[in-house]
Amino acid sequence: MDWRKVWVVARHEYLTNVRRAGFIIMTAAVPALGILVLLFGAFFAGQARQLGAFFERQFEVGDEPIGVVDETGYFSPILPEYQGNFVLYGGEEEAKAALLDGKVSSVLMIGEDYLETGRVVVMSTGSGFGAAALSDSDRVRAFFVDHLLAGRVDPVLRERAAAPLDVEPRVLSSGGETRGEGGWGFAFTFIIPYFLAFFLIMTIFVSSGYLLQSVAEEKESRVIEIVVSSVRPVELMAGKVAGLGVLGLTQIVVWSLSVWGFSGGAVLLLAATGAASIPARVLALGVVYYMLGYVLYAIMMAGVGALGTTMRESQQLAGIFSFFAAVPYMLSGFLFTNPNMLIARILSFFPLTAPTMMMMRLPLAEVPWVDVAGSIAVLLLSIPAALWVGAKLFRVGLLIYDKRPTLKEIGGILRGGG
């Protein structure tokens, strides 16, 4: 292997592709999205309560008082703490008039049979959405519970009945430690690394996509014939994998820097939550799977890309690999509830799904060490095998212009020299 030539190819691939409009757009557009997601995550993790409240307010019906027509007597008079938000009306007509005048946002009509049936008629102007939201509002619930129980139970019990539980999640891992920040923040400790893993996986595909494109273009334009008369196919392949791998890293660095730059003060918050929510083990393993995954996919894409006679045909052929890599995403709904389910564990030992599957599982839960060691071993063994197959296909495929080789011919290529 002539490393100088590998370097020349790598530099050429990098410089050519870094100027591509597609690359620039992708690199510039994704951070915008990433910033949103990450800032969101950072914000939520640090200020879960305020944000929870903020979200609740979004679903509240508004600050205008709500009219009440009470035929049961439980709600008359309105308790002092609710008097600003609720207005009692003597009858239906009076309440309707107030509603139409805009004095109240809606009217709760509590009939005589309320205690037996729970039936409350909600009148509002505009869409029915207000009425639906009202029934889900904590403020309205508290209003009912407090009035029903006022004077009958002690105030502490009354308050608990109005807000029966405030969840503080904790996850027990084998190390015995627990993690938990409560509410939304807790969810985002998973979501940040999950999205980071997602971005890393994206760059794997972006980079290996460029690799596929670069091989197919050289083949389609026939310049490949001159190139392989100057460098060995394995040097060409190594140069492409290295150059486009660095291109993928460039994208990640640009993304990370832009997040850092844009977030300004929030970066501290981000670092705090980020570091807290991504244990060092997950980060380190993430990098390992990233590298192994990229190298494996890149080699496969190069080998298979070389078989197609046009860019389109190469893409179709390489689609098989993208499908395998996407399988863990199809399972992500289940993965969230049980990252260590059997199918996930099995797919972690299959080379084509292992990198993405493990990158998704790692942030979600404590993954058994057998799975970690096993999947890394599988990848380490598959890479030389892929290199052997990929280089052979690459060498022969590069010079087949007229038609795509059949499976039988591919078998022949692998058995013979080429």
């Binding site: 050519t16 001159i226 190139v227 008369s229």
Partner: protein, 300 residues
């Protein structure tokens, strides 16, 4: 000897592309590699270029295995193309670097070659902006940019207009004078006749004709003379047949008869001779005859 090929064998599945081929190319010569489509020319060249590996046989380029001589060999493939979105100069520099030329030297040489084919003003334009003829000239200099000792040209005149054919021919002649070894593979026999010192004609992967062009032509020359004159007497001694041909006559000679005797007989009869020559045989006819298996025995 700059190239030695010995018992070269290459199969693709059940198809034998090259079947025990042996030949040599000498330093500084213009060597013609000929053969019909599918004869194994491109496969042979690809083996010498180390693009594919032979199944059997031995190939040496400048005394080394092909893989180690890449920097000294230039190649203009039949299947042509360049990086369409790359700039002209960058393309040449990259291709030179792939051959191991340092970047500054590559730039210098590339500019020099662009001037030589009158493309220097296009150096910073993209390849796709060039006309077809310009692209072909660029492709030609791309095979020279690393200053190789041996140059393989596979159908270099394919698709070129007459002006560009002349340009490339001149450039080839210049390179030949500079002492470069050129292996020319083409169908255009007139160009081979005009340019090559020695030829190798292959068919179905095997040698059909191999040696100095002049000798081969002599071997295949028909036993006839070509005379341009108003008329030809029918009873000339040693002449067994007269055929009019495009304002002249082809005179087939009897075995043992010599052209000089025929000329003397014509002068004795006071025939007004405008031209007299030993009938030439176009390389094309030799090619067709050799490939179709006719030994052209009757014409010897």
């Amino acid at each position: 000897m700059v190239i030695q090929v010995q018992d070269l064998m290459k199969r693709y599945g059940d198809v034998v592309a090259v079947d025990g081929l042996s030949f040599e190319v000498e330093r500084g010569e213009m060597f013609g590699l000929l053969g019909p489509n599918g004869a194994g020319k491109t496969t042979t060249i690809r083996v010498i270029m180390d693009i594919i590996r032979p199944d059997e046989g031995r190939v040496m380029v400048l005394g080394q295995p092909p893989g180690q001589a890449k920097a000294q060999v230039g190649y203009l493939p039949e299947e042509r193309g360049l990086y369409r979105n790359l700039k002209v100069l960058d393309t040449l520099v990259y291709l030179a670097e792939l051959k191991g030329v340092p970047r500054p030297t590559a730039r210098e040489r590339a500019m020099h070659l662009l001037e030589r084919v009158e493309l220097e003003e296009w150096a910073s334009r993209k390849v796709k902006d060039l006309s077809r003829g310009m692209q072909q000239r660029l492709q030609f200099v791309a095979s020279l940019v690393h200053d190789p000792e041996i140059l393989f040209l596979d159908e270099p005149f394919q698709g070129l207009d007459p002006v560009n054919v002349e340009r490339i021919k001149d450039l080839m002649a210049e390179l030949h004078r500079e002492g470069k070894t050129i292996v020319l593979s083409t169908h255009q026999m007139n160009l081979v006749e005009a340019l090559c010192d020695r030829i190798l004609l292959i068919d179905e992967g095997q040698v059909v004709l191999y040696g100095p062009l002049a000798e081969i032509k002599r071997q295949y020359a028909p036993h006839a003379v070509r005379v341009r004159a108003p008329h030809i007497p029918l009873d000339l001694p040693g002449v067994v047949g007269v055929e009019p041909d495009d304002g002249a006559f082809n005179l087939a000679l009897a075995e043992g008869a010599r052209p000089q005797e025929v000329l003397r007989a014509l002068l004795d009869r006071r025939v007004e001779i405008q031209a007299f020559e030993v009938a030439p045989v176009p390389l094309e006819d030799i090619f067709v005859a050799a490939v179709s298996g006719e030994e052209a025995e009757g014409r010897r």
